[in-house]
Symmetry: C2
């Protein structure tokens, strides 16, 4: 498991200028590893699978849990990384915080998204074009993510801005819950990447179509496949790429990816 593969190819549909093309698209790989300090589990880290010993050591030091001089060894064994100190210091599990992105959790119990929503390619492009236009703050700072909830005509229901892309989805879903807006025929537009944790949020909220202007990550595709989310990436200008469940987009092409 000491893999160095941080990208891999996925089958996808590229829709550009009204034409549909089957492609093999490069996607970033999400790995998860258990981080142990003196044989006590500190955290499950989600990380691209390179430089794992360096990551474990750097994480514990730059988050202030260890001083460099305390460390006596770092070693990877399969999906586990062990950091050792002379003093047998421990950090109780989950006392450590996770800056990174997503800790793996069980998601087998999440119901598959059930929706009859079907949209045209033009509608996806229309939604994508409205994502940055709703963020004056983004234009000013370059440091703000935005998610937008669209109805099935591509009209904006709610736009949420945040420094964290995860937060923008929380704000959208929370807004819908507060206003009793059902989500099973809505489209979620995002400015940010879609790893497993982001797509899980949409799945838990029963949102059938997720469109991002940015990239998708490999486990995001896997979750979307399994939980029935139509996952669309790189939605920019007149193009977008469908990575999972293309059957909700009416394209002039056999919609089966696999």
């Amino acid at each position: 498991m000491k893999g160095k593969t941080i990208i891999k190819r996925y089958p996808a549909l590229l829709i550009q200028g009204g034409r549909t093309q089957k492609v093999e698209d490069w996607v970033a790989v999400e790995g998860s590893y258990e981080l142990y300090l003196n044989d006590t589990l500190v955290d499950t880290i989600v990380v691209s699978p390179t430089d794992l010993e360096a990551h474990a050591l750097g994480y514990l030091v730059t988050e202030g849990f260890l001083k460099p001089e305390e460390v006596t060894g770092v070693e990877q064994q399969g999906d586990q990384i062990f950091v050792r100190t002379a003093t047998k210091k421990i950090i109780p599990r989950k006392a450590a915080h996770q800056n990174v992105i997503y800790r793996r959790r069980e998601w087998g119990e999440i119901p598959v998204v059930s929706s009859t929503l079907e949209v045209s390619p033009a509608l996806i492009i229309q939604c994508a074009q409205q994502i940055p236009e709703h963020s004056e703050s983004w234009k000013k700072t370059g440091g703000i993510h935005c998610s937008v909830l669209f109805d099935q005509e591509g009209r904006v229901i709610k736009a949420a801005e945040d420094i964290g892309r995860w937060n923008t989805v929380d704000k959208i879903v929370g807004y819908a819950l507060l206003h009793r807006i059902p989500l099973t025929k809505k489209i979620l537009g995002c400015s940010g990447r879609q790893p497993e944790g982001m797509v899980l949020k949409a799945a838990r909220a029963q949102i059938p179509i997720v469109v991002t202007k940015a990239a998708v990550i490999d486990r995001g595709i896997e979750v979307a496949e399994r939980l029935g989310v139509t996952l669309i990436g790189f939605a920019r200008e007149d193009r977008f790429t469908i990575y999972a469940h293309p059957e909700r987009v009416r394209v002039a092409f056999s919609p089966h990816l696999r």
Copy 2:
């Protein structure tokens, strides 16, 4: 504290085409709030200060802690957000995980970065230009962050790629520790934004200059100011902006920002 300000202006130096200009730059604001479920603290969330009740509710639901129908109320009081359910359900503190970015921690004890490093504007531009060139994976997927450690001549010591921008810094610092490379005269180049948590990582590692091609976030500037980190953002083509400790960059201009 129910503010709606998610961006604010900071004084900065813009260096472009060899000229230096004092500017007031818009920067995204980082807020932190305590999230309570039935009066038990779940987590400290870091978020742009809008839609906070929606965020709290969306976060608890999309992470799978609550079902929408369990919620009986959501309310913000100052820096605290309270979510209530009929069943008095609780989630023990830190059992919740944090997708977002950074939980505030005490950092008063971190020593100010002490370094005699001084560089030219041309060196900063040279470093910035080398950040994406070291990530073939980024070019292929658009979903990979990259950090690069440079020596004081702008030569690459180590490049680290990851789906998480935090991880790239951990990998760089861990690599330096594993190879006993002192960091007090090095430059850290990043592809990603610099909020408080990212700058804290550099400060803990005693890295004097941080350069990102992306934006800086307000508390990132505050940490850099307090802990002696030269913080440079939007380093692209022939330009960059210095947000804190410009005295390490030799520009033909009074280097005092404030």
